[in-house]
Symmetry: C2
Subunit: 457 residues, 2 copies
C-alpha cells in the first residue's frame, strides 16, 4: 500500500512558500532541487505567485492534472478544509506535515480522527499529521523538510522526526546510505507495520532501522518483526525505556509508551536487534549495511596498538564473544613475517611501526584461513615514522578485495574520525570504519548473533 | 621527584637520527620543533653528522655541558653500555624509549633489572624502557615519539603508549588540552604512584587521567588515589578487565593484571571514576576539564528535538539521575516565551524551529533559577529554515557567559561532530560539546557523583 507514497507520478505541495524561514519552503526546495526525480510537481500557494521559477496555483482544483500525492504544509486550522479539497479532487495519497493535532490534546485528537475517517471512506491513505515527511533516496524524492542522505541499502522508519534527522547527519559522517526514510508523526492512518511490510518487500532495502517511542499494537508488531527478521536484519532503538523517558515520550508523541523489558524480549525473540543507545544503533546499522554474514564465530585480531587490542578483547568478552587461540598452522604462516618483538598469538600485536604490508599480509592470511571467520584489523594511526593515517587500512582493503569480500572484516581505527585521508579512502572504496574498541566488539557480537539466528530458522 | 624529568635544563638525545622512518627521528623532531622549549638540546648520533641543522656528538662525553635528562633511542643491545656512559657522565635522569626488555621474557627482565639497580646506586631516576616518552605541554616539551596536544589542564599517565596516542587524537577532535603526559613502559624505576603524586601537586593539572593495565602495589595505588581524589577528579580506564583482555594485557606489558571488580571498587571508594569504555573515558575527562562542580542535582533540560530529549531522559535514569518537575515559579517564567505547541515541562521540548533567542532565554532563566543546578541544552542542528548549525549553542554560550559560568552547562549537539561552524565556535569560546544523549547523561551523573563525594569528605 505505501508504494504510491514513495513512487508518485505527480505531487502537489499545498502551502508551498518562498519564505526561507518556513518549513514549507524546505519541503518545496527538497522536492524541486533533485534533478533525478521524474514526478511532476505542482505548487499550491496563496502567498507566492512563483517559487523557484515555478508558477503556483491558488488551489488544487486549478491543477489541470491528476495528483497522486498531496503534501499539506498549511497551518493547522486550514488542514481539514484542504483535506476536503484533496478528497474532492481526488488525490490518491496525503502527507500532512503540519503539527498541532493529537499531540496537543483531546480536541486535536478529535480533529485528526475526523480527517482519518473521511479519508478512509474516500479510499485515500494518509501519513501524518505532525511529521517531517518521507524520502525515497534512490529515486531522488525528498518529500520532507530534513536533509537528503546518500543512496544506500538502509530503510529507516522513525517515530521522532528530529531524531531521524540526527541519525541522517551521522549517516553522512559515517558514509552510510539510505533507501527509504519515513516519519509517520501521529500516524492516524498508515501504520508502522505497513511501512515495515513495505520495506520487507522492497528490493532496495537490505537493512531496516526502527526508532520507536510507542506501539499501538504490540502483537502485530511482533508478528511483522518475525517475518521481517528472517529476510533482513532489523535494528530497533526505543525512546522511553525508563519511567523518566516514558513521561518525556508521552508528552512528545501523545501516546502511551510500552514496557521496555517486554518489548526488548519480544524484539530479540523475533530475531531483531534491540540497541541501548544511539551509538549502538549507528554501529548496528553500519555493520549490517556493509558486512556479509560470517560462517562461524572464530575471530582473528591484528593490531598495531597493544592497549587497544586489550580493550577490544575486554569489550568482546563483555558481549559474550570469546577469542580462540590461533592453531599452529596459522601461526606458522604468520611467524615468518615478523621479528622477535612480535608474539604470534591472538590478538596479534604487530607493535607500533607495523606497515601497510604487514596489515595486507596478515589480513590476507586470516581471510584465507579455514580457522578464521571474522577478521578485526585494529589500527592506531601512527603519528610518527612518516606513516600515512590511511596506510594500514589500505593494506586491509587490498586483502579484503582480493578475497572477494566473502568474510566480514571489521576495521577499527582507534579515534581517527578526523582524518580526511581516511574518510576519502572509505568513500572511494565503500567499506565501513569503526572508531572505538567497544563499537567494533559490538559489531562482532551482532554478526555472530545474526549468523546463529539464521542457522536456527 | 619527577620534576627534573618534566623540567630539565638540558637534554641529550642519544641515538638521534635523520632517518624519518625511525622512532628516533620522531623524538628528535618533536623536541626540536617547539620554539617555546627553553632547554638546551644536544644530539648524540653515530650515523648522522648533522640533524635538522644541528651538529651531533659522537658520544655523551663529547658534550661539554652538564645533562639533566638523557633520552635513549639506541637499539636494545646498546642500551646497557649507554646507560653506563650516562652514569659516568653523570646525567640526572634517563628515559629509555627502546623496546626489547622485560616484555620479551626472563632474559630481558634480568637486563632491565640490572640497569635499574645500577641507576639506583648512582641516584639516577629512570623512565622506561619500552615507552613512548613524556610531555610537558605548557613548557613545549615533547620528549616522546607521539603527537603534541594543545595545552590544557588534563594530566595523563598511560600504561599503553599507543592507546595514549589514540586518546590524544581524540583530545584534538574534542578540543581538550593537556598539561602533562607520561608513559612509563616497563616502569623499572619511576613508579605510577610517583607520577600521580607529582600530578597532584602540579598547579597546572586540574584533572588526572589514568590508563592502567597492571598494578604492582594495589594498596599504595589505593592510598595515592584517596589523597588525589580529594584534590582533583581522577578518571581511570582499565585494560584487561576480562580474562580475554587480561591474557592480551599480560602479553602486552609483561606483568600480571589484577582482578577488575576489586580494582573498580577500590577506585570508586577512593573517590575516583572508573570508566567502562574509551568513549566514557573521553566524556569524563571532557566533563571535569571544562565544567564547574554543581551545587545540587536538579537538572533543567531544553531541547529542539523531542526524541533526543526522551533518549537523554532514559540514559539519565539508567545512570541513576532522575529529573525533577519544574516548580510553578520557573514554569511561569518560561511560559510567555512560547506558543501553545510548546508544553512547559522538564525536558522542555521547544520543538523543531527553536531559535538562538529561545536557547539564550531559557538557558539564562534556568541558570538564574534557584531551582536548577545543572543545565542540559540539547540541540539537533536543524537542516531547514536557514538555521545555522551553531546558532542554538551561540545562544547557550551567551547565557552561560553572562552568568559567569558558575553552574555546569552540558551542551548536547546530537550527532553534529561534522559541523565546521560548530567546531569553530567551540575552539574560540572554550566550552565542551557532547554528541550523544548517553554521553551527556554520563557527564551529568559524574558531576553529581563528584559533588556528593566532595560533600562527604
Amino acid at each position: 500500500m505505501p508504494e504510491i507514497f514513495f513512487n508518485p507520478k505527480s505531487i502537489a505541495i499545498i502551502g508551498a512558500t518562498s519564505n526561507p524561514k518556513k518549513f514549507g519552503n524546505s519541503v518545496t526546495k527538497n522536492l524541486l532541487q533533485n534533478p533525478n526525480l521524474s514526478a511532476e510537481i505542482y505548487l499550491v500557494s496563496l502567498g507566492s505567485k512563483e517559487i523557484n521559477g515555478i508558477k503556483t496555483h491558488s488551489s488544487i482544483f486549478d491543477i489541470p492534472h491528476p495528483i497522486d500525492l498531496a503534501i499539506l504544509l498549511v497551518p493547522a486550522k486550514f488542514v481539514p478544509s484542504v483535506v476536503d479539497d484533496c478528497i474532492k479532487k481526488p488525490v490518491k495519497r496525503i502527507i500532512i506535515v503540519t503539527a498541532g493535532f493529537g499531540e496537543m490534546g483531546l480536541e486535536g485528537k478529535k480533529i485528526e480522527q475526523n480527517i482519518a475517517q473521511k479519508c478512509r471512506t474516500a479510499g485515500i491513505r494518509v501519513i501524518g499529521p505532525n511529521c517531517v515527511g518521507i524520502e525515497n533516496c534512490n529515486r531522488g524524492m525528498n518529500a520532507s523538510f530534513i536533509q537528503t542522505p546518500r543512496t544506500g541499502n538502509i530503510s529507516f522508519v522513525s517515530q521522532s522526526g528530529s531524531f531521524g534527522a540526527g541519525c541522517l547527519y551521522e549517516f553522512a559522517e559515517q558514509d552510510m546510505g539510505c533507501a527509504k526514510f519515513t516519519n509517520l508523526g501521529n500516524a492516524i492512518d498508515l501504520s508502522f507495520n505497513e511501512v515495515l511490510e513495505y520495506y520487507r518487500t522492497d528490493s532496495e532495502t537490505q537493512v531496516i532501522a526502527i526508532y520507536l517511542e510507542s506501539l499501538k499494537d504490540g502483537r502485530k508488531f511482533y508478528k511483522s518483526l518475525q517475518k521481517l527478521a528472517k529476510d533482513k536484519p532489523v535494528v530497533v532503538l526505543k525512546g522511553g525505556r525508563t519511567s523518566t523517558g516514558l513521561a518525556a515520550a508521552e508528552s512528545h508523541t501523545g501516546s502511551i509508551a510500552s514496557n521496555y523489558i517486554i518489548l526488548k524480549t519480544a524484539v530479540e525473540q523475533a530475531g531483531g536487534v534491540m540497541c541501548e543507545s544511539m551509538s549502538d544503533y549507528i554501529a548496528a546499522l553500519k555493520t549490517f549495511s556493509y558486512l556479509p554474514n560470517p560462517k562461524g564465530n572464530r575471530i582473528g585480531i591484528l593490531t598495531s596498538s597493544g592497549g587497544s587490542g586489550v580493550l577490544y578483547s575486554d569489550q568482546a568478552e563483555e558481549y559474550g564473544v570469546s577469542l580462540h587461540q590461533f592453531p599452529e598452522e596459522l601461526k606458522n604462516k604468520i611467524r615468518p613475517l615478523f621479528g622477535p618483538l612480535v608474539k604470534i598469538r591472538n590478538p596479534l600485536d604487530m607493535i607500533a611501526g607495523a606497515t601497510e604490508e604487514n596489515y595486507y599480509q596478515v589480513t590476507k592470511i586470516m581471510l584465507e584461513s579455514k580457522d578464521i571467520d571474522i577478521v578485526v584489523p585494529l589500527s592506531l594511526v601512527p603519528p610518527f615514522m612518516q606513516q600515512e593515517p590511511q596506510e594500514h587500512m589500505r593494506g586491509v582493503l587490498r586483502a579484503w578485495n582480493e578475497t572477494g569480500r566473502k568474510k566480514p572484516v571489521i576495521p577499527l581505527m582507534v579515534y581517527a574520525e578526523g582524518f580526511k585521508e581516511l574518510q576519502q579512502l572509505r568513500s572511494e572504496n565503500d567499506f565501513p570504519l569503526f572508531f572505538t574498541p567497544k563499537e567494533a566488539a559490538y559489531s562482532t557480537k551482532l554478526l555472530i548473533d545474526r549468523m546463529k539466528f539464521l542457522q536456527r530458522t
